[in-house]
């Protein structure tokens, strides 16, 4: 917000703004909140101290407890807003998101569900995690997307493993890539219509196929052993579209 009584239209704020969120035209200073990234440069350079900030909501954080006793927290972006990364960043820092679901019990595992792809919000979700679980499918699409995300894991220095979903629909190229890249394939889930139906109905794979329970427990144990036994683990699961 600009204090018009103090502003001298010097234009310094518009000059430093890399996002063109300010324009000084004639006698007016225009502010475009949708373009603002909130870097604070304009208020620091204003020689008159005429600029102040106000919150501009771009999304909503919420939290609750699932029927199974897990805390579930999410960030939801408002329609028409361009930037998801600040919401991911805020969610990671929001204390209620990590309050124990049952008072007195410590949280020792944090699972983050990353957006698909390899863009900024994905990196922000992965940053700070102890382990990355990359979910893919044995198709050219799955391989393509996996090849995008693996270098980020390497750059962030976070150990990673792969789950091949919909095993059986495609070819062996994903498995070959994992071997070449030194990525362990921790689990394979076959393509079955009953799984697709269950997921569409909002049920989990383990609810639809209880025989997978032990395999998921083993998966988690493997990951915990890779990281640091008994330490709190932040696990980020990333993948291509809808894997």
């Amino acid at each position: 917000m600009i204090d018009e009584t103090r502003c001298t239209r010097c234009g310094r704020c518009a000059e430093v703004c890399e996002y063109h969120a300010l324009a000084v035209v004639g006698l007016r200073v225009l502010v475009f909140p949708a373009l603002c990234h909130g870097c604070g440069s304009c208020l620091r350079v204003c020689p008159e101290g005429a600029i102040s900030e106000r919150q501009h909501g771009i999304g909503r954080l919420s939290t609750g407890v699932t029927a199974g006793g897990c805390r579930l927290s999410q960030g939801l972006m408002h329609v028409g807003e361009p930037m998801a990364t600040p919401i991911v960043r805020a969610l990671k820092r929001w204390p209620p998101a990590f309050a124990p679901a049952v008072p007195g019990i410590d949280c020792t595992l944090e699972i983050r569900d990353a957006p698909p792809g390899a863009s900024c919000p994905v990196v922000e979700t992965m940053r700070g995690a102890d382990y990355l679980l990359l979910v893919t499918e044995p198709t050219p699409f799955g391989l393509h997307d996996l090849r995008q995300v693996v270098p980020i894991a390497t750059e962030l220095g976070i150990p990673a493993g792969v789950v091949i979903n919909r095993e059986g629909i495609g070819d062996a190229a994903v498995a070959a890539y994992c071997e070449e890249a030194g990525l362990p394939v921790l689990m394979r889930i076959p393509m079955e219509r009953r799984f697709a139906e269950a997921i569409a109905a909002g049920r989990t794979l383990v609810e639809a196929a209880p025989e997978y329970g032990p395999a998921f427990r083993e998966l988690l144990a493997t990951i915990r052993a890779t990281v640091a036994p008994a330490a709190p683990v932040a696990l980020a699961a990333a993948g291509g579209g809808g894997r």
Binding site: V16, E18, Y19, H37, G38, C39, G40, S41, R44, V45, M77, V79, G80, E81, P82, M83, A84, T85, P115, P116, G117, A118, S119, C120, V122, V123, R127, T139, P140, F141, H144, D145, Q148, V149, V150, P151, I152, E155, R166, I169, G170, D171, M191, R193, A196, E197, I199, A200, A201, G202, G240, G241, G242, R243
Partner: protein, 299 residues
């Protein structure tokens, strides 16, 4: 010239498979020689995997600028770290450096460095490609891992496709759009003549669809909806279609769950070309007939 954008509320709904089928059906039907393709899903640029085009040209795409600290001029005063709101200045053994992934390019550190040791540099963010596919020219792009700014790249891909369509008097630009509702989506839909939203009958499908339709309404782009894998939950598909009717959005058909789609993907072919008589292919032909009728009507 018409621009049709194919979208979905989230990834994995089969959007790209449907776009590839449309490319095949358009180019082998009355729109032959009239199609320009654009893969605007630059975060997961998969359309080329199904069309296996011949690459004609590639060029570098510079993304946003990021700050760089000249270690020789830096006195390690730490002011940059205090002004950066994006945690992009990292301290290492008393020295400071910029984490290019976290840097938002605001240049606050540049303006505040008392030594003038920080400057902004454009970063190579990815590549723009121009290719020739069996079904027409394809404009696509690849982002380097971890790069942002896909909204700008989307705008460039669309601009190239539109430019070629105008120059060669081609009538249809078919855009494979990004999933979700963020910046790249906005960039992909603004100014389009028509959007086809691929919905899924999943629990979150109706919710994802609503957000996409809100975005399209916000940008005043006319929307059509097709339900993919509709038979996995027929009741949910009914509900999606009912919601669309309430909103005044036309639905253009249902595509069944069909392993032929995955086989086509592995073969690098649109399903309508790979297995023309598969259930999904038959359904896709009907969907395309309806969409192209609307496109012609919008002429």
């Amino acid at each position: 010239m018409k621009q049709l954008v194919v979208l979905s509320g989230k990834g994995g709904t089969g959007k790209t498979c449907l776009t590839a089928a449309f490319a095949h059906l358009a180019a082998t039907g009355p729109w032959a020689e009239q199609v320009v393709l654009a893969d605007a899903d630059v975060d997961a640029a998969n359309l080329e995997l199904m069309l296996r085009p011949r690459l004609l040209a590639a060029e570098e795409f510079q993304g946003g600028k990021v700050a760089r600290i000249d270690p020789a001029a830096c006195t390690a005063c730490g002011i940059c770290e205090t002004v950066c709101r994006f945690e992009a200045i990292v301290a290492h053994d008393g020295r400071f450096a910029v984490d290019p992934i976290a840097c938002e390019g605001c240049a606050a550190c540049v303006h505040h460095c008392p030594e003038g040791a920080i400057s902004m540099h454009p970063e190579l963010a990815g590549h723009l490609y121009h290719s020739e596919s069996r079904y027409g020219p394809l404009h696509h792009a690849g982002l380097l891992p971890g790069q942002e700014n896909s909204g700008k790249l989307v705008a460039l891909v669309r601009q190239r496709a539109r430019g070629q369509a105008l120059a060669e008097r081609r009538e249809l630009v078919l855009v494979d759009g990004p999933p979700g509702i963020g910046c790249p989506v906005i960039s992909a839909v603004t100014g389009a003549d028509l959007a086809l939203v691929v919905a899924e009958p999943s629990v979150s499908g109706a919710h994802d669809l609503n957000r996409t339709l809100d975005t399209l309404a916000h940008f005043r782009v006319r929307a059509l909806v097709a339900v993919n894998r509709a038979d996995l939950r027929p009741a949910a598909s009914d509900e999606i279609e009912a919601r669309c009717r309430e909103r005044g959005v036309a639905t253009v058909g249902r595509v069944p769950f069909d392993l032929a789609v995955a086989r086509a993907m592995v073969a690098g072919e649109p399903v309508t070309a790979n297995e023309p008589e598969a259930a999904a292919s038959r359904a896709l032909r009907e969907v395309w007939e309806r969409v192209s009728a609307v496109l012609r009507g919008a002429a």
